[in-house]
């Protein structure tokens, strides 16, 4: 029996447990519950074919969808990474390491330059997968650097926002990213450089109360949650049920807070047209 146990059983076990494919082969639509094959989802730009639900999308994929072809990712350095030496059950620096491993990016904001409809643009993407897209010093610094680069190359800025809000583990320095990024936006305004914000699901907290709501033009993806206070906080404060569709893109459009709601499939062409208009091209 021993050879069976030692050789055959592990082989059988291996066959039975072998994974050629990742776990997330089928992806469930958070809205309709519909199951979609991952390749179909990717081919459809992470929009669920039936329900049109716009899934969150990794930063690098977002850039691939936006640019004509090649683009350059700009490195960001020179900011403190753990100002408070914050620790709860886990050290904040360890959380950062995990997030870097998971996303393959240094922090929640990826900045880049490339061509969009043959127009050189600077694109800033906030990745929700990196600690909820939260805004800390490194993320703020990335936004400032991208806007400074745009200033230098005189290219329009397109920013995709996605964040739960502040990077709590960085405390007050996270809050200081509100004025800091606002300064960068102000410099763009003064130089008359177009600044277009695409609000994606979700964009809440201090992020909306600074650069994400200071765009020349505000576009939102369908169904995105956008607001200052989170719905849970509001419900707890006012002890009432929130209205249907509250804080969603379409609701914000109705209340005059954004210019348009654009389906992800139409986003690229819409952005090209807007850039051309603003650049008088």
């Amino acid at each position: 029996m021993s050879w069976i146990n030692n050789i055959v059983t592990p082989k059988i076990k291996e066959i039975l447990t072998k994974k050629d494919v990742p776990d997330n082969l089928w992806i469930k639509c958070p809205e309709s519950g519909q199951m979609v094959f991952h390749k179909d989802l990717e081919a459809n730009q992470w929009v669920i074919p039936g329900s049109n639900y716009h899934m969150k999308i990794p930063a690098k994929k977002r850039l691939e969808l936006l640019y004509d072809d090649e683009y350059t990712v700009i490195d960001v350095e020179g900011s403190v990474s753990d100002p408070l030496k914050f620790k709860d059950e886990k050290k904040y620096i360890d959380r950062l390491k995990d997030a870097r491993k998971k996303t393959g990016t240094d922090d929640a904001v990826v900045i880049s330059q490339g061509n969009l409809g043959s127009i050189p643009v600077t694109c800033i993407v906030q990745d929700f997968a990196f600690m909820g897209g939260s805004l800390g010093v490194a993320a703020g610094e990335a936004i400032i650097k991208a806007m400074d680069e745009a200033l230098r190359s005189s290219s329009p800025v397109i920013l995709f926002s996605a964040a739960g809000g502040a990077r709590m583990q960085e405390g007050i320095l996270s809050l200081m990213q509100m004025p800091r990024t606002t300064i960068a936006v102000q410099k763009l305004n003064e130089a008359r450089i177009p600044y277009i914000v695409v609000l994606t699901n979700p964009t809440t907290g201090g992020v909306t109360a600074s650069y994400a709501m200071l765009g020349d033009i505000h576009i939102a993806e369908p169904g995105a949650l956008i607001g200052f206070a989170g719905p849970r906080v509001i419900e707890q404060t006012i002890k009432e049920k929130l209205p249907e569709g509250f804080q969603r893109s379409e609701y914000l459009l109705e209340h005059g807070m954004i210019d348009m709601v654009v389906h992800r499939h139409d986003l690229r062409s819409k952005l090209i047209t807007i850039c051309k208009h603003l650049l008088n091209k």
Partner: protein, 316 residues
């Protein structure tokens, strides 16, 4: 006066003192008199010791003490000829933020601040100092007005945060805060901000993005209230004291981190125990900072303010 939960020892000593005072109707009995003096001294020492080593969470409670001087108290004591300017010209007049033209030590200024209110009726009127978009749009309007007439701006910050409500969201709470912050950064006149109690999150930043940010010794400045921080970090608002203690929210921490520019020492036992003294000390401090910046050129004022914020968190 309302004692805080960690002041039990002091409260007992002070109540004994007042009991003894009632027992000794006049100065006939010298031994009782002596006793009172000794007890008073003991109470004072206990208070001094306690307040020298307050934890961040205890400071949070002091910062929220209902008897602590509010914006109105400073307005009445430090400013003359106050002309309140109301409304945002777009929707309504938010009473959580009050502002107007005034004289401060013979200088014409624009003064703006959060008002929490001192009794139930007032607190409701002022929405506990939690402003909506209209409050921030009013602040923005007044700052722009001051800028146009070359009038320095002083803001008093005392808010748990911007109000989280349906109407506030519908009318663009986040946009209003962002625009107000932007206006702070653009005015070419001196802008001085003083955190007198709670500096709560974006609701504070909107009027506190200033050339000089000053904090009272026991005030706090937070990315989110300790309760909200605990709820976000650990899904448990009951861990507020832990959040407060780990997030560097005190004036002492923030001056070390170069987030703020100055700290005003409070009377022993906190500002609420001696209004007169803290009002005077704030006045002295404000006029010093104001005279320092007023000399500067408009361009420099804007540049210095921007550079100060841009350098925060940068290495080297």
């Amino acid at each position: 006066m309302q004692y805080l939960d960690f002041e039990k020892n002091v409260a007992e000593l002070e109540s004994k003192v007042s009991e003894l005072r009632q027992l000794a109707p006049s100065d006939e009995d010298i031994s009782i008199d002596e006793n009172i003096k000794q007890l008073e001294q003991k109470a004072n020492m206990a208070l001094e010791k306690l307040y020298a080593t307050l934890s961040p969470w205890q400071k949070t409670k002091v910062a929220r003490h209902p008897d602590r001087p509010h914006f109105r108290d400073y307005l009445e004591a430090l400013f003359d000829d106050f002309i309140e300017l109301a409304g945002d010209r777009k929707y309504s007049n938010d009473h959580a933020i009050i502002g107007g033209l005034a004289k401060f030590a013979d200088i014409n200024v624009m003064v703006i601040g959060h008002e929490k209110g001192s009794n139930t009726t007032e607190r409701i009127k002022h929405n506990f100092g939690m402003a909506g978009p209209e409050g921030y749009r009013k602040a923005e309007r007044l700052m722009s007005l001051a800028d146009r007439f070359n009038i320095p701006i002083i803001t008093f910050v005392d808010t748990a945060g911007a109000y989280p409500g349906i109407g506030a969201e519908e009318r663009g709470q986040s946009e209003a805060i962002a625009r107000s912050t932007q206006t702070c950064l653009n005015v070419g006149v001196p802008l001085i901000s003083i955190i007198i109690g709670e500096g709560g999150s974006g609701g504070a930043v909107a009027i506190a993005t200033a050339n000089r940010v000053i904090m009272l010794e026991h005030s706090i400045y937070t990315v989110a209230s300790p309760e909200a921080s605990a709820s976000i970090l650990w899904r448990d608002s009951g861990k507020a004291s832990e959040a407060a203690n780990s997030m560097k929210i005190t004036a002492q921490d923030l001056i070390e981190m170069k987030i703020i520019d100055d700290v005003i020492t409070e009377p022993v036992g906190g500002a609420h125990r001696n209004h007169e003294k803290i009002l005077r000390d704030v006045e002295i401090n404000l006029s010093r900072h104001l005279s320092e910046i007023t000399k500067l050129d408009r361009k420099i004022i804007i540049e210095d303010r921007r550079n100060k914020f841009l350098s925060m968190g940068r290495v080297g």
